[in-house]
C-alpha cells in the first residue's frame, strides 16, 4: 500500500467514526432526556402516559401510606395541584412529610406516577436548585427550607 493510500484510508475511517459518534449523540440525547415538572406544570405539559419524567414538590401531610411490605403511596403537591406517587422499595432516610422531594418514574395516569427512584433532600441545608426555583415561583418557598 502506498503511503498516500494508507493516509486516505485513515482519514476515511476517522470520518466514519466521527459521523457515527455525532449520530449517536443526536440520537441518544433525543431519547434519554428526562423532563422535570412540578405538579402544576405537568398538567400543562405534553407528557404522554408511559413517559419517564421527574416530579418535584412537597410531600403532602398525612398522605404517606404503606400499603404492603415495601410498597408506598404518597402525594406530591405544589400548593395548587398534586400528583399521586407509588413506589416499591426503601424510602430515603430524609424522606419526610411536608418536605421537598423529587421522584423519577413512569407516568401511568394523568396524575399518577410509578416512581423508580426517590430523591429526598441531601441534608438540612440542601435543596435541589431546580425545585427551589420552581417553588419560589409558586410562592411556596419558605425561608426555613434553606
Amino acid at each position: 500500500m502506498s503511503l498516500r493510500f494508507q493516509r486516505l484510508l485513515l482519514i476515511f475511517l476517522s470520518l466514519i467514526f466521527l459521523t457515527a459518534s455525532i449520530f449517536l449523540i443526536l440520537f441518544n440525547s433525543k431519547k434519554n432526556l428526562i423532563f422535570f415538572y412540578t405538579p402544576s406544570e405537568l398538567l400543562n405539559s405534553k407528557t404522554q402516559i408511559n413517559d419517564t419524567i421527574r416530579i418535584g414538590g412537597i410531600v403532602k401531610k398525612d398522605s404517606l401510606k404503606n400499603i404492603e411490605d415495601n410498597k408506598y403511596v404518597f402525594i406530591i403537591h405544589d400548593n395548587n395541584n398534586y400528583v399521586r406517587v407509588s413506589y416499591t422499595g426503601i424510602l430515603p432516610d430524609l424522606f419526610r412529610e411536608e418536605q421537598g422531594v423529587v421522584v423519577q418514574g413512569k407516568l401511568i395516569k394523568i396524575d399518577n406516577i410509578k416512581a423508580e427512584r426517590v430523591f429526598a433532600k441531601h441534608d438540612e441545608n440542601y435543596m435541589p436548585t431546580s425545585i427551589k426555583k420552581q417553588l419560589e415561583k409558586n410562592k411556596y418557598w419558605n425561608k426555613s427550607y434553606q
Binding site: Q6, S21, K31, N70, G89, T129
Partner: protein, 623 residues
C-alpha cells in the same frame, strides 16, 4: 485570634506571590537567583502555616471562626475534625491554594529544565495562584470571625464523616490542581518555543503523577458512593462525577500523546492544546459544581458571586492560554509518520476517541443548563444517555488498546500477529459461551470479551517482550501493558457488576430465613450501639450457602444527634466472586424492609484501578 494569624499568613503568601509575579518583569529572565528560591519557599511556607492554623481551629473547636462554627462540632471524632477542614467550600479552596504552591516549590527543584523556562513556568503558575487567592480572600474566606459567641458548632454533614471521603478531597485536588502546573509549563514552552526532550520528560512525569492521583481520588469517591449512598451502584453519571471524568480523560490523552513525541518529536501543538484543555476542564468543573448551576447530590453550599468569580478565572486563564496558543506558532515542519496500523496511528486514533468521548460527556453535562436558559424548561440527562453514547464511542479505542503497545513505530507489521488473532477469536468465542450459558446480554458479551481480550493480548505481549529482552528493564518494558491489563480488569468488573447485578426488595422478621438467588439470609438480631456522636442500629444478618454459614453482614442506620440526620450504612460482604450488599429500611410491626443486591465481581473494579494507579507511578520513574 487564631483566625487572624491564619488570615495574615494567607495575605503574606499572596503578597509574596505578587512579588514573584512582578519580579519576572524587572529581573534577569534567564536566571533563578537564591532570593527567588527563598520567595517560592516562603510563599509555600506561609500558605501551609495558614492551612495549619485552620486545622488547629478545627481541632480545638474554635467557634469564633465562622467556618469552624458552620462545619464542625466539639463532639466529632478527632479524625473528622481534621478532615472537616477540607469538607467545605472555603477550607477546600485553601487546600487548593496550598497544593498549587506545593507544586511550584516541587517544580523549582527540577534540574533538567533551563532556568528561563522554569522561571516563566513559575510566573504563570503564580499568576494562577494569585487569581485563586483573590477568589479565596474576597468570596470564600475561611477565617471570617463570628460577631456573636457560639458555644457549639453546627456539625459536619454526617455522610461526609467517613474514612474514604476524608482522604478523597486532598488526593483528588493533587490531581486536579496539578494540571495547573502542566498548563504553566506548556505556556512557558510555547513562549520560548523550547518544547524539547527535557520539556517532554518533565511534562510526562508531572502528567503521570497528577493523572494517577486523580484516578485514585475518583475511585475513592466512587467507592464511598458505593457503600454510603445505598443505591447498590458506584457510578451514577451525576454531574459532579462527570466533571471529574472530563479532565481525567483529557489527562489520559495527554499521557498517551507524550508517548508519541518521546519517540518522534512531533505533535507538539496537540500536546500543548491538551495541556491547556486539562486544566481548563478542571476549572470549568469547579465552576459548574461550586456555582450551584447544576443540580447534583454532591452540591456544595452555593453562592452566585462565587460562581461568577470562578467563571472569570476560567475565562481569563483559558482565554489567555488559547490566545497564546494561536499566536505562538511552531515552525517545525516534521511530518508525522502515520501508517495504516503503526503505533503513531494507534495513538492518534486513541486521542481522537478520547476527545470525542470527553465531548459527549461535556455535552450531556451542560445540556440541561443550555436548555434551561433557552427554553426555561428543566431537564436532566440520565445515565442511559451516557451509557449508550460514551461507551460505543470508546469501544474502538478499547479494541485497539489490546494490540497498540505491541505495534511498531516504523512499519505496518505487528510481530506474531497470528497469535493475537488467535487470542481475539478464542476469547470472543469463550465469552460468547459464558454469556450464553448465563442470561444472554449484548453488553455483557461485548464487555466480557473486550476485557478478556485486552488482558490476554497484553499478557501475550509481556511474554514476547520477556522472550526477546529477558528480565532487563522488565518493568519499563512492560509498564504500559500493565496499565492496559488494569483497564481490562476494570472493564470486566464494570460489565459484570452492572449487567449481572441482581436486586431484591424483601421484608424480614427476627429469625426469619429467606432463600434469595441460591443463598439464604437470616435476620439474627438487632443491636444498638452508642458512639461519640451518633447512635447506631445494627441489623445482623447471616448469609448461608447450602445451609452452611459463610458470613455475617451488618447493615446499619445511624442517627447523628447534632444534625438530627439519619444515614444508611450498607452492609457488604466481599467474597471473591461477588459482593453481598444489604441495606435496611423502615420497620412496621416488627417487620423490616430490606434491600439486597448481589453484585458479581465488583472487586475487579477496585483491583483494576489499583493496577492502573500503580503503573502510573511506575511510569514516573521510567526515563
Amino acid at each position: 485570634m487564631i483566625s487572624l494569624v491564619g488570615f495574615a499568613n494567607l495575605l503574606f503568601s499572596f503578597l509574596i506571590g505578587l512579588i514573584i509575579f512582578f519580579s519576572y518583569f524587572f529581573n534577569n529572565k534567564n536566571q533563578i537567583s537564591r532570593t527567588y528560591y527563598n520567595l517560592v519557599f516562603f510563599k509555600f511556607f506561609f500558605i501551609i502555616v495558614s492551612f495549619l492554623t485552620l486545622i488547629y481551629a478545627y481541632v480545638v473547636s474554635d467557634f469564633s471562626n465562622q467556618n469552624v462554627f458552620e462545619n464542625s462540632h466539639s463532639d466529632k471524632p478527632i479524625l473528622y475534625k481534621i478532615t472537616g477542614t477540607w469538607g467545605n467550600h472555603e477550607g477546600s479552596m485553601l487546600l487548593w491554594l496550598l497544593i498549587m504552591s506545593g507544586y511550584t516549590l516541587f517544580f523549582i527543584f527540577n534540574k533538567n529544565l533551563k532556568d528561563n523556562i522554569k522561571k516563566l513556568t513559575i510566573t504563570f503558575q503564580t499568576s494562577l495562584f494569585l487569581l485563586f487567592a483573590v477568589f479565596v480572600i474576597l468570596t470564600s474566606n475561611p477565617f471570617l470571625i463570628n460577631s456573636i459567641n457560639f458555644e457549639e458548632g453546627m456539625g459536619l454533614n454526617p455522610i461526609l464523616q467517613d474514612p474514604a471521603l476524608a482522604v478523597h478531597p486532598p488526593i483528588l485536588y493533587i490531581g486536579y490542581v496539578g494540571f495547573s502546573l502542566i498548563l504553566s509549563l506548556a505556556l512557558a514552552g510555547l513562549t520560548f518555543k523550547q518544547i524539547d526532550y527535557e520539556w517532554m520528560n518533565t511534562a510526562k512525569k508531572f502528567t503521570l503523577f497528577c493523572w494517577s492521583m486523580l484516578t485514585g481520588g475518583i475511585a475513592l469517591g466512587s467507592y464511598w458512593a458505593y457503600y454510603e449512598l445505598g443505591w447498590g451502584g458506584w457510578w451514577f453519571w451525576d454531574p459532579v462525577e462527570n466533571v471529574s471524568l472530563m479532565p481525567w480523560i483529557a489527562g489520559l490523552a495527554l499521557v498517551h500523546s507524550l508517548m508519541i513525541t518521546k519517540k518522534e518529536k512531533l505533535l507538539i501543538r496537540w500536546i500543548v492544546f491538551l495541556s491547556i484543555l486539562c486544566f481548563s476542564l478542571s476549572i470549568f468543573g469547579t465552576f459548574l459544581v461550586r456555582s450551584g448551576i447544576l443540580t447534583s447530590v454532591h452540591s456544595f453550599a452555593t453562592d452566585s458571586a462565587r460562581g461568577i468569580f470562578i467563571l472569570i478565572i476560567f475565562l481569563v486563564s483559558t482565554g489567555f492560554s488559547f490566545i497564546l496558543f494561536i499566536f505562538k506558532t511552531d515552525d517545525s515542519e516534521e511530518k508525522l509518520k502515520l501508517l495504516f496500523i503503526n503505533k503513531s496511528t494507534a495513538l492518534v486514533f486513541n486521542n481522537i476517541v478520547m476527545i470525542i468521548a470527553c465531548l459527549t460527556i461535556l455535552l450531556g453535562t451542560i445540556y440541561p443548563i443550555v436548555i434551561e436558559v433557552i427554553t426555561n424548561k428543566r431537564i436532566s440527562v440520565g445515565a442511559p444517555y451516557f451509557n449508550s453514547t460514551a461507551l460505543p464511542i470508546l469501544l474502538p479505542g478499547f479494541l485497539l488498546m489490546s494490540i497498540a503497545p505491541a505495534l511498531s513505530w516504523q512499519n505496518n507489521k505487528l510481530p506474531k500477529y497470528k497469535s493475537y488473532i488467535f487470542v481475539f477469536i478464542a476469547l470472543s468465542l469463550l465469552s460468547f459461551i459464558i454469556v450464553y450459558l448465563n442470561t444472554f446480554n449484548v453488553w455483557g458479551f461485548i464487555g466480557i470479551s473486550l476485557g478478556l481480550i485486552i488482558i490476554f493480548s497484553s499478557l501475550l505481549s509481556v511474554y514476547f517482550n520477556y522472550k526477546k529482552f529477558g528480565l532487563r528493564n522488565f518493568i519499563s518494558q512492560n509498564n504500559a501493558l500493565l496499565a492496559h491489563i488494569g483497564v481490562g480488569i476494570l472493564i470486566l468488573g464494570i460489565t459484570t457488576s452492572s449487567v449481572y447485578k441482581s436486586e431484591f426488595s424483601e421484608t424480614f422478621m427476627i429469625n426469619e430465613k429467606k432463600q434469595i438467588n441460591n443463598y439464604s439470609y437470616t435476620l439474627l438480631k438487632l443491636e444498638t450501639n452508642q458512639d461519640s456522636n451518633f447512635q447506631e442500629l445494627v441489623a445482623v444478618f447471616s448469609l448461608y450457602k447450602d445451609n452452611k454459614k459463610i458470613a455475617e453482614i451488618k447493615p446499619s442506620k445511624r442517627y447523628y444527634n447534632v444534625s438530627k440526620m439519619i444515614t444508611t450504612e450498607a452492609g457488604i460482604y466481599h467474597s471473591w466472586f461477588q459482593d453481598f450488599y444489604v441495606i435496611i429500611g423502615n420497620e412496621k410491626d416488627k417487620i423490616w424492609s430490606v434491600k439486597i443486591y448481589q453484585n458479581p465481581l465488583v472487586s475487579l473494579i477496585w483491583i483494576g484501578v489499583i493496577i492502573m494507579v500503580m503503573s502510573g507511578f511506575l511510569g514516573i520513574r521510567k526515563v
